[in-house]
């Protein structure tokens, strides 16, 4: 996957886009190089310290891919939002809300429908309900001019409360053979949740890099004034944008329920910051206007590889906290240096 990082580049259509292209290509590539360096580093560490291979062990690769699913899905939606110059803090609990709704709906539907249809109902219900906080976020940001940070923080609370109310404060167990297969089954050795996530992320990559929606997204993030003058309906775009972000979180929630056979309102709580970090490591700017889905994929895998690798090489737990923090800082520092370097070109 690393090799096709360059087509990640965006939209030729806009005024700002030509400049973005170079920056984005470099930034996205940087994340993949960083990931490569980490993998090589862990391989060397594992060989030197224990005489075992890290990368040669397919079990490790599978485990890392499974681990990356939820943060990557949240980060995919977040990439769109961050490129537009916003941020979506609600996704962690939107994910939990979707997880709980999916568990409840599959539970109810089990009684009247055959297992595959019950799962279908649950998946649709989970993603659909997740869209509601996204819609509210979009209206708050687009029409009521609430800053994204505050508006989505508010929905973070609302989604959290609703999810816990629906779940009566506990986890909602669910039993359905098809759901269990989706969550823990494999196709030719690849977990279904990884396949679903990969297909979805590729689709989102296409949407961001090849469609008008994606082009508008870059344009708004680069210069909202100019985008408006160019005739883009910014408000409508923002509403769709936040719904998309919530839907990504919804999918993450549904897959969580499938995997753990239970919906938990707090399922995504620990992932919010990881998902934002993945986007930034992936080369997006928190000020908007740049970023790619493929960069974010690398960013999410950087975090997953660090966390998994440190356990594998048996680093003491407290050092793991420090290491993850340091790697995020280093990654962003490299990014800053690169921007300062590329800045000359950009300001021409």
């Amino acid at each position: 996957m690393a090799s096709d990082a360059s087509p990640a580049v965006a939209p030729p259509a806009d005024h700002g886009a030509g400049r973005q292209t170079i920056l984005q290509r470099v930034a996205s590539l940087r994340a993949w190089l960083f990931l490569l360096a980490l993998l090589v580093g862990f391989e060397a560490w594992a060989r030197a310290a224990y005489g075992v291979t890290f990368l040669g062990n397919t079990f490790n690769l599978q485990s890392i891919a499974i681990f990356a699913v939820a943060p990557l899905l949240l980060a995919t939606g977040q990439t769109f939002v961050i490129i537009s110059g916003g941020i979506d803090l609600s996704t962690g609990f939107v994910m939990g809300l979707a997880a709980v709704v999916a568990a409840l709906v599959v539970g109810w539907a089990n009684a009247v429908l055959s297992p595959p249809f019950a799962v279908l109902m649950g998946v649709f219900a989970g993603v659909l309900v997740a869209g509601v906080p996204g819609l509210v976020n979009g209206v708050l940001v687009a029409f009521l001019k609430v800053p994204p940070f505050i508006g989505t923080l508010g929905m973070f609370g609302v989604a959290r409360g609703v999810a816990f109310l629906l779940a009566t404060g506990t986890t909602v167990p669910v039993s359905n053979p098809v759901l269990a297969q989706l969550g823990n089954g494999r196709l030719w050795g690849v977990p279904w949740i990884v396949i679903v996530t990969a297909l979805f992320v590729l689709l989102m990559h296409y949407v961001l890099s090849q469609t008008r929606f994606g082009q508008h997204n870059y344009a708004i993030g680069a210069n909202a004034q100019a985008a408006r003058r160019a005739g883009i309906d910014i408000r409508r775009h923002l509403v769709r944008l936040y719904v998309l972000s919530s839907a990504c979180a919804g999918l993450a929630g549904v897959l969580y329920t499938a995997r753990f056979s239970a919906g938990a309102a707090q399922a995504g709580e620990p992932l919010i910051l990881d998902s934002v970090a993945a986007v930034v490591i992936g080369g997006a700017s928190l000020f908007g206007g740049s970023g790619t889905i493929l960069g974010t994929v690398a960013g999410a895998f950087v975090i997953a590889v660090i966390q998994y690798g440190l356990v594998f090489v048996n680093v003491k737990p407290f050092w793991q906290f420090i290491a993850v923090g340091v790697v995020i800082i280093i990654s962003v520092l490299i990014d800053q240096a690169q921007r300062a370097f590329a800045g000359g070109r950009q300001s021409e």
Binding site: S63, A264, Q266, P270, K316, F318
Partner: protein
């Protein structure tokens, strides 16, 4: 908002006769208000505790107020406590979220003449009414012994794996008194009683099942002789169980869960989790309210009440005498 959660106390019916004489007078007795402040409101353990507390409150004609914060953190618990003190209940039952940071806030309640009883967790060293230290003012500490619970988990796991192999503790975060104690008891019992079992480094998952699953896979990838894992709370356990499943080691790597909400019980039935160490939170809540009532009506109460554990596994999970200890609303 949790006042809806009344009703249902089947498991406690057996205990009711103890206070039966009091109950007879409940109608004409003064109507006391007792506040129960859990460690967090979003946890099946405390919700079950509230159910037990409500059962005792209904029996005794006490009004029960259940208010708490959404996460286990003194920063969010203390404002709730202050608001409760401001409403001047007749007694406070609280699961303090920190052994030192809650001392002064609770002293304010005590100074205001509101008796304090701690449930599940404690302040100071948990030994009250001794005249020693500045945290001895609560009247009673009602809880299960988490160190003992960890020991029970260790013995159950050791028996399941035939007394040899590698195991580790999947834990939430360092610094939480109850989960720290479970780990302490687990490691102590393993060291003292099972010399052929090696306990690997503890992994902290920050209450994230995804992280706990990944950690299990990483530990197993490096230690193929891994035979067991002790999940010190709900998400540690369901995460570790999923990691075992992903690794295709169900039945080979045994999973012991601490606490017994419905999702863990379902996992026992499907074989993903081998056994759960159930505390008796409803009993804790019931004795909390009953102790407060006893104190308010002039009856001296014990400074410590220990509640027990039940080990739930596939062989007894359907037994009604065991099923009553599954955590529920």
């Amino acid at each position: 908002m949790d006042r809806r959660r009344l009703l249902g106390a089947a498991g406690l019916a057996a205990l009711a006769p103890v206070l039966a004489p009091k109950m007879a007078q409940a109608q004409d007795a003064p109507r006391y208000t007792v506040a129960l402040i859990p460690g967090l409101t979003t946890d099946a353990f405390y919700i079950t505790m509230n159910r037990g507390a409500q059962a005792a409150a209904d029996a005794l004609g006490v009004e029960l107020v259940f208010q708490g914060a959404a996460d286990f953190n003194p920063v969010t618990q203390v404002p709730v406590l202050d608001a409760v003190i401001a409403r001047a209940p007749d007694a406070i039952l609280i699961a303090p979220t920190d052994t030192t940071q809650l001392v002064e806030p609770l002293r304010r309640a005590n100074d205001a003449g509101i008796p304090v009883i701690t449930v599940d967790t404690f302040i100071g060293n948990g030994v009250y009414q001794t005249g020693a230290g500045d945290a001895d003012f609560p009247l009673s500490y009602i809880a299960s012994d988490n160190v003992l619970g960890g020991r029970i988990a260790a013995r159950a796991l050791a028996n399941a794996i035939g007394g040899e192999g590698q195991v580790y503790v999947s834990n939430v975060n360092p610094g939480i008194s109850t989960t720290d104690q479970r780990e302490e008891g687990f490691k102590a019992a393993m060291a003292e009683e099972f010399p052929n079992i090696e306990v690997l480094e503890t992994q902290f998952n920050e209450n994230d099942a995804n992280n706990a699953a990944s950690q299990l896979q990483a530990v197993f990838a490096r230690n193929p002789n891994l035979r067991g894992v002790f999940g010190a709370n709900l998400f540690s356990a369901i995460g570790a169980a999923n990691g075992v499943q992903q690794a295709g080691q169900t039945g080979t790597i045994r999973v012991v869960a601490f606490d017994a909400p419905q999702s863990i019980v379902d996992n026992i039935k499907t074989g993903l989790v081998d056994m759960a160490i159930a505390q008796h939170p409803a009993t804790i809540g019931w004795y909390g309210v009953a102790s407060a009532y006893a104190h308010l009506t002039g009856v001296a109460i014990p400074v410590a009440i220990g509640t027990g554990f039940t080990v739930i596994d596939a062989s007894n999970v359907d037994d009604p005498e065991v099923a009553k200890f599954i955590y529920s609303e």
